[in-house]
Structure formats: C-alpha cells, structure tokens
Amino acid sequence: MTSPLGKDLLALEPLTPEQIRLILDTAEPFKEISERAIKKVPTLRGSTIVNLFFEASTRTRISFEFAEKRLSADTVNVTASGSSVSKGETLVDTARNLEAMRIDMVVIRHSASGAAQFLAERIESNVVNAGDGTHEHPTQGLLDLLTLRDHFGSLEGRRVCICGDVLHSRVARSNIWGLKKLGAQVGVCGPRSLLPNAVAELGVEVFDRIEAAIEWAEALNVLRLQLERMQAGYIPSLREYSRVFGVTRERVERAPRDLLILHPGPMNRGVEIDSDVADGPHSVILEQVTNGVAVRMAVLYLLAGGRPELAEAAKRGEK
C-alpha cells in the first residue's frame, strides 16, 4: 500500500504543503473519536506498532499510544534509558530484530538527529519520527499547525513567533518548515547564543527582544528551556533568561492584538513562561495536547494506507 505521505513520516521539511494539509484535514474527523464514550474505531485492527523510545518522554509516548489504541492497533512499548549504544545493541540491530517480528510500524524517539531516517532506510515497516535529537518532531509541528488553524482558519499570512532555544529545538525546526509551507510568516526570538548561527538563512524574522516579537506576532510558540543549557554555558542564568526573554503577563498584556500562546510542554513555569500566561485566556496549550492525539491518528491512518476521503467513514467505524 502506498500512502500519500510515502513510507514514513520523518520530518516536515521534505513534505509538500498539500501533504501537510492532507494530514491536518484527515485529523479533523479523528478529533471527534476522542470525545466519545467508547473511544475506539477498528481502522488499524490487526496492525502491530512498536513505540521505540530511546529518550524519556511522557506526553508524546502517551499521545501516540492513545492514537494507536483508539485505532485498535496492537502496540508494544520499548523504552530504553540512554541510547542503544549504551544498551549494548546498535540501533540497526534493534531495527532488524523488530523487523524480524513482522511489525507494521515503528514510532521512534531518539536523542540522535537523523535516527528516525537511519531506521527508516533500514527497515520496510513504516517509521514515524517522534523526535530525533535536535532535528525534527514532525507530529508536534503538525499538532501546532492544527491548533493554529483551528483559531485562524487559514495560516496564510499569519505571523507566528517561536521563542526560546531554537538552536537545540526539534519542535522549532518542524514548526518553521510547517508554518512556512502553509504560508505563514515565521519569527524567532531568543538569545543569539540559542539561535543557529545561520538562522537568517532559514527564512525567518529574527527578534532580539521579546517585546518586539510580541508586538509583531499573532501567536507565540514558547519553547521549553532545557535547564542543562545554563550548565553548558549558553546563557548565564535562568533568572536573567526569565527577566529578558520570559513570556510574562505584563508583556502579553501590552500586545497590540489578541495573542495565541502555544507551548509544546513540559513547561518550566516561571522560566520561559509565567503561570498567568500558561493558564490565561490566550493559552491554547491544552488544545495542543488534545489535537496531538488526532494528528497522530491521522498520520498512522495515512501511513497504513488509509484513504483520506474515507477518514469520515473510518470515524463511523467502517473499516
């Protein structure tokens, strides 16, 4: 079965705008399944999916697992602390062993950029990237796009600013590509030590000051600041980061227009985002989480060969 996405979903960068819209459109009918009392359709009955998590994750893993279970797939969770290398088995051996068990799909989270592609090139099963190093996190990008689209209708010409540690963020990369492909204008804001040196070549507006970013943007996607960045010397202190770059109520209230606030989680309250903002009227953070399940259902459905025009029927329980 060839899916309209190809064999795998590894990144948003190589996708066409049509493919991205297809995923988002397919996610729409799946949203409703999660609102039912019996949250299950038989679409992927008989399919086996392995969730291969080499890096700690709660939200993404659970979201994928719900998506799989609500589509009636059989799932196995493999979690490994640290990398496959420290475990003693190489990633390629892990992949071949899974393949030998005749699985249909692998959802992989790994600390190395390129790990999902590495796996995809070596096994025949469909591979979904659930975050590879500092490269991409395509399903997070898609759920952010879906959330923004829910509010904006269309992303064409909309101004979205990604705030924080863009350098180390796979969420940032997936967002940048996805937003640009759907016609949005993308800004980034953060200390220059946490932006890629070649950031301007990514085709984004760069803001040194969060106040300027807020004045410009219609939505902010606030990235989690990994606490180890301070130890690694990228920034002097979390306190100063929060004072200079934190998304605070004061700053948000000065916005010239209504501002949507997104955050991929988990949040460091009081560091990159104030609780007042995270829990405030502009926050769509929990909508993102809800949309995450629907988007992942759509991705799994499409990769398994599901026809987008039949997603409505699938929702009704017809296989």
Binding site: S83, T90, S113, G114, F118, D132, E201
Partner: protein
C-alpha cells in the same frame, strides 16, 4: 646522532636489480620541467635514463612496460594517512594500507601516529618501519607523536624517533591545544630538520561538533564546527612558526579563511606549508544531508565557497600538496547514528581519480600541477626520497591513464576500509603501474 635519516628500503630487493623500461609514455616530471614522450629506464633501483620517443631497442634483460597513452610520473607521496596498526588491525594493517597505497599510485605514505598504543617512541617507530618493509608495497614512513600518548602535555623524544626513521611529528586526530607545547615542538623539531604537522582545531569551539556549522547543520539539527575552529589554530601555528623559525605543516586545510591566513604567512616568508585532501576539493557539506556517515570527517566538508578557495590554493601553490587523510573505519562503526559515527573516510585508492575528476577535468589545474602536488611537493616538503625522475633518483614511479573512467565500488578496495563517499561515482583516471625502488608493486592489466 646522524643528521641523515635512515630511509626505509623496499621490502624485497629480489627484483630491484632488474631493469625496467617504461616505454612510450608521456613522461611528466615538474621537478625538472620535463614533459615529453619517450622511454624511462630504471635500473638498480634508480632512475637510469630517459630517452625521447624513438625506436630504442632493449636487451632481453629489460622488462618493457608499454606506456603508450599513459602518464609516467614520479611516484605519488601521501604525507597523511592512518594505517591503524598497531591497535586496530581489524580495520587496516600496515600491509593492507601499503598495498592500497600502491593501487592508488602512491609509492610512499606517511603513517600518522594515532595508533594504539600511540607511536611516540623509537621502538614504536621501528615497528612501523619494519611492518612497512615487510609489506613490500608502498614505502611507509612513520610520523612520530608530538606529545607522549598524544595527550598534549609532555614532548615525545623527537631525536630518537627521527633516528629510528620518523619523518615528521604530529598529534593528528587531536589538536595541540597548548600554544606553549606547540611553540616548544616547533623549536625542538628544528634541531632535527622535521616538520611539525598540526591538526588545526580549537577544541573548545569544536567540541561535540559533527559537521560544518552553517545552514545544513541548522537544518539537520547537528552540532556544527565553525570554520574559525580551524582558522584560529592555523593562525596561531603560523605566528608560532614566525616566532620560532620552525617548520609548521598544516594538515587537511578546509576553509577559505585558512587559505587567506596561509597566504599571509607565506608572503612574510614564514615556514608554513599546508595540505588539502581530495574530499575537501570535491565535496561540500550538502553531502551530509541524509545523515550519510561516509560524509563525516574532521575537518568537516565545508561550503562551496570554501571548496573553491581550496581548489584555487592548490592551483596557485598556497596549499603545497594533496594528502589523503586515509582513515579506514569498521563498517559497523559507520553504520550508526550520525553524531556517534567516527570521523574519516578511506582515500588512498580514489585520490588520483578524485583530483583528476574535480580539478584536472574541468581545467582548474593541469596534469603537471597534479603531479607536483601529489609527488614533487610532498617529497620536498617532508624531505623524502622520490618526487623526481631525474637520473640517479630512487626509481619510485607511477604510471596512470588520465582518461580512463571507472565507477567506485568500495567492495573492490584493497584497503580493509569501505567507508567512501565516492561509492557509485564515476571518476576519471586509473593507476596502471606503481614502481617502488625499481620494483613493480602494482600493475593492472591493459
């Protein structure tokens, strides 16, 4: 202690006395501005004579090799390769490396000392030399470590290593982080007339880097190594060479900025020489897209502007010579996540063809310049035997076909290494015959 270094001899002298005639080739020797069709006669391990094209008849005891349509050049010399022995005989041995070198047209190679244990003493140097002689292929010249264990702290015993046969010192694979150590090494090496070859990399800037820092690293989410990591150390070394009067040789230069700094140093008469690798003359960071670990090396593949600058520098002599940085790795070591894969590619068997394809074919350099950068200049820079076809020189000769095209298939390499970014590329230029000390160590049919 003698100022004269003992020269490694070819492993077997059994056939060294036989006479060889390389007949009817284009004899190209920039060391004496020779470019003429004729017969090159080798006898007793030395270049005996050159006869311009004619119908010279040779007695039966001459082994005549038909070289019509081929280029006959002084043997190529690679001043930078990793033969992995002792320590990693599973990925290369001195014997397999020396044979791969011969296949690539190299009549001599210099083995870097980052072995296990490190080649940092006279006994270790003697071992490399002995294994090289036993291999009976390309000559193997050992390079000794700058610091004991390549730890960047205490100087290794240059004097004893040179006496045992080392031709240079280097901590290659690791940068010499301490400017004081580099200064001392340059001063001390002067005593023995050897170059100090440095792997230029500012370690705090390069830490954790897996590729060139730029737009591609930003896209792929890989930690980048900025050009400045190389350039800062290049200028440091050039300034220390000025201070000490020592000879610094800058390994595998990869950036436009480095070229400008070397040019600056040379204009001031500072004793700086530099090398470039075939991969930095042919490939850019784009080769990393798709996370191909065979495009991972240190220094990393850079941008198109850098590649162009390095090509220009090879043409105008700012970069003195071409060296392979041949670095075999086990298949399994490269078959993994990009950030975890080791740096380096094999290069001995593709060097000529890569330079032919990317520099000679498009007319950036001519064949005489290629021969200079791969033979004459390395011999002069590292003060090695060979690098000339003048009468009485050691009979180290390479015969190659400059027009023949072939497709790279790593499975057919003589080296144990298969890690080549050129797999599947169709390249131009094939080595037909490699002669070391008058003895044919590699010969292809046809």
């Amino acid at each position: 202690m003698s100022a004269q270094r003992p020269s490694p001899v070819p492993p077997s002298t059994a056939r060294a006395r036989s006479k060889v005639v390389l007949r009817g080739g284009r004899v190209l020797d920039p060391s004496q501005n020779l470019d003429a069709v004729g017969d090159l006669v080798l006898a007793d391990g030395k270049i005996e004579n050159f006869w311009r094209a004619g119908d010279t008849a040779y007695a039966d005891d001459y082994h005549v090799v038909d070289c019509a349509g081929k280029v006959v050049a002084p043997g190529f010399i690679d001043v930078h390769c990793h033969l992995r022995e002792p320590g990693r005989e599973d990925v290369e041995t001195i014997a397999t490396g020396a044979r791969a070198a011969a296949v690539g047209g190299f009549t001599a190679v210099c083995a870097m000392p980052n072995t296990q244990p490190v080649t940092d003493n006279q006994a270790a140097v003697g071992f490399i030399l002995k294994q090289g002689q036993a291999a009976g292929a390309a000559r193997v010249h050992p390079i000794g470590a700058i610091s004991l264990g390549q730890e960047g702290k205490a100087l290794a015993e240059f004097g004893e290593m040179v006496h045992a046969g080392a031709v240079a010192v280097s901590d290659d694979g690791r940068p010499v982080a301490s400017a004081h150590l580099m200064r001392t090494a340059l001063e001390y090496a002067r005593t023995f007339g050897i170059p100090v070859a440095d792997h230029c990399e500012e370690p705090t800037l390069a830490v954790g880097g897996a590729m060139n820092e730029g737009i591609v690293s930003a896209r792929l989410g890989l930690k980048g190594i900025p050009a400045e990591a190389e350039e800062i150390m290049a200028i440091r070394d050039i300034l220390l060479a000025r201070r000490t009067g020592g000879h610094v040789h800058l390994c595998h230069m990869s950036t436009k900025g480095s070229v400008e700094l070397i040019r600056w140093g040379k204009e001031r008469g500072i004793r700086v020489t530099a090398e470039a690798c075939p991969h930095h003359l042919s490939l850019t960071e784009d080769a990393v897209s798709g996370y191909d670990t065979n495009a991972k090396m240190n220094p990393p593949l850079r941008t198109e502007a850098d590649v162009e600058a390095i090509r220009d520098a090879v043409r105008d002599g700012t970069i003195d010579l071409i060296a392979t940085d041949h670095a075999p790795h086990h298949y399994d070591e490269k078959e993994r996540e990009f950030a975890d894969a080791p740096n380096g590619i094999v290069g001995l068997e593709t060097a000529l063809a890569v330079v032919m394809t990317w520099l000679v074919k498009p007319g950036i350099i001519d064949l005489a310049t290629l021969v200079d950068r791969m033979s004459v200049s390395p011999a002069r820079t590292f003060r090695l035997p060979g690098g000339s076809l003048s009468r009485g020189t050691v009979a180290d000769v390479t015969v190659f076909d400059p027009t023949c095209e072939w497709t790279v298939d790593p499975a057919r390499f003589v080296s144990k290494g298969r890690n080549s970014p050129y797999a599947g590329h169709t390249l131009r230029g094939v080595v037909m015959c490699t002669i070391v000390g008058g003895r044919i160590v590699h010969h292809t049919a046809g």
